[in-house]
Amino acid sequence: MSINLSQFLPTFLEESNEGLETMESGLLNLQNADDESIHSIFRAAHSIKGGAGTFGFKQVTEFTHLVETLLDEMRDGRREVFKSDIEILLESVDCIRLLIEADRREVSCEDESIARVSNLLDQSLNLGAESDNKSDEQEISSTSEIEHWVIDFTPEHHLVQTGNDPIFLFNALNDLGDVKVTCFTDNVPAFSDFEPEELYLRWQIELSSPDTTEADIREVFEWVEDECQLEIHLLSVGRGSEQNANSDIEVSSEDIDSAKESIPTVSKDEAPIASAAINKPEPTAKAKQEVSSIRVGVDKVDSLINLVGELVITQSMLSELGNDFDLSKVEKLTSGLDQLLQNTKELQESVMRIRMLPISFAFNRFPRLIHDLSIKTGKEIELVIKGEQTELDKTVMEQIGDPLVHLVRNAVDHGIESKDVRIANGKNAKGKISLDAYHMGGSIVIEINDDGGGINRQAVLNKAVEKGVVEPNATLTDAQVFDLIFEPGFSTASEVTDISGRGVGMDVVKKNIQSLGGRIQVESEPGKGSCFKVNLPLTLAILDGQLVRVGTEVFIIPLISIVESLQAKTDLINSVSGNMVLYRLREDNVPVLPIYQLFNLDADNVEIDNSLLVVVESDGQKVGLMVDDLLAQQQVVIKSLKDNYQQVDGISGATILGDGSVALILDIPGMISMALKQAQIAQKKAASPTIEEVV
């Protein structure tokens, strides 16, 4: 029977990702080590190695083996846990990630970091091995004892059906020392009773090895413990002839030597490849994100099943009611319909929740990031994470990761001051960055706070004037000034470091967040720190919308882009620079965009005076949309127009209203660029006759 292994590959990839995360977070907490965390790190590495072996991921297996060996020594207390080791192990976690990706694509990974880290691992192991070796020699010279174990291994008949093969166990024992296996066939039944898929054999294994404990042997049998009778006896120490024992010692010390030799040769082989390496790991890192499955908690599935059960009950109740209905039962019908409404709502929420994951998935990477950055920058930083159980749509989560990383890096590099400056300013030498996530209304808010120097208002202004973004004498509010840091090519860092300061990024951060339908705000207080607030919709499938009417058509404006709605006052409407209509909204002059004009519709009201304006904002540009009527606010499910039709300018999608009709969702940025295009065409038309006149 051959099993198609490739079907399990996605599971393995996902599990090893989880394993790597376990290792990472375990390693970061290892300084204050308890036994359990080193065990869980080891287990994670062990199962990655095992899984990789199954799928023939040779590079991963080899590399992870080194890591595992190092971890094993730590686990057994044979090696102290030094900070340098943890650094190496953290780097090797990254390497394993690269290698898994490389093996998955069946290419050899030629990243210099792999060779470097495996060299480091070797060195670290050799140091340990030398000391081990010494202690071994000491042990040998002092005791020179060989322990003889007799293991009675009687597997249950169904052992092989669970995928365990005794030969693997014997091979594993062989690694521990000399093994002599005797097989007993006395349990094999008569041929007529013989089941071909059962195992009737039992074995006695004699193991002679210098320093094996019962626990070591038990570990070999760990997987089959519940499926066999296992008896392990220690025969009297040093029984066998003196000669025999001596030869065993030779073998084992040879083993150590050969192991010591083989490891450096491997790294020597790898070194030239590494130096010639051109392949950069960036593309692999990106490809990694395409995980296509969701792990759903059993509780969520259970609640779904419950709800479906209730739905079925309601349905049968209603259909029974329908079978012989008269007016006396109207009340029953209404209550039944109410129940149906309730059930449907709950069902919708539950289904949505399946796509929701706690934001800790996105936050998990930050302890490591802060750890690395604080080493790189020499700043001591404490990371506080709050609200990591706040749930967020999976798609949003995947796309918010990179912007968040950027904001955190920024906070470390620009926000937190160097140690000396902090002490001079009477602050705690240790900087603090806190990540906080919470729900607010229909959206999720992620705050990134730092207690650093804050944004230098004057520096930002100067830079903006220098870049020509702002007029030299303009008066701007704090919020407007801080918004400038999201301009492309804007960086106030006096020095460009390799962490940040190149001025690429904040604009991308803003763009990414906006493409998710979210927005970002900055608050900052000089000397106290800054706070970046990212406001995101909970899900991309549902949108909070304001229904508006233009003529006979109903449109939906995403609530998140609405600044305010107002009735236009005649004296605040100004016509400037040749028929451009502006509405004075406090200090701002907001251009008025009549929807009926843009979309060629018949509207009730074509006069701006006293019309209803919905002021929306996109990319810092405010526009007043002229509508006939404001209707309800409600959550709508977004449906694509592109599936069966095509992209429509100014429309981001469609939804189905309560009465079954379709309403279109306005795409605010799209509408603004449409209006700009129309204006340009109009300007050209206006410009060309004047040229003719001149000619």
């Binding site: 449906k639 127009l641 039709y645 189905i656 009709s661 379709v662 309403a663």
Partner: protein, 179 residues
Amino acid sequence: MDIQALAKDIPAQGEQSLEGIDFITNGDQYLTFMLGDEQFAIDILCVEEIRSWEQPTRIPNAPNHVKGVINMRGVIVPIIDLRIKFGVGENSYSVSTVVIVLTIEVEHDSKTIGFVVDAVSDVLNAEEDEIKKSPAFGGSIPPEFIIGLVNLEDAVVTLLNAEALHKIEKHQPNEGIQL
């Protein structure tokens, strides 16, 4: 006796229904419909459903023949008036005006589109050799939409190409932006 009589009947019934099947399997089947006075036909396997006309939600700046979108069991389906597209008949909307909803698959890309027609008439069986080439003597329908012509008694039916209809709304993308 009685049972034997019944047993005799059964094959007879079977033959009758077989005759029916025979008529079905004879060539490909097409749904015929009217645009003005002309008869058209479309591969029946594409037909999702036939609905009565309802006012769709208009799409801003869409070409004239795109009437809008409707909600068909949670799916947003665009409605295209074939009479306007092909310049046949009058585009008036009455009780008998129907929408044929087609699901057209071209290279894994499946689209569901509704087409407004004046009336749905019948199912037509046409074998390949019955389909004649359409002569290129004018006509307002672009040739890529036409598979051929089939004679039906005294009338002529135009067979339309479903795959071409798949791209119908993309034919003149700039038509909408008329300022």
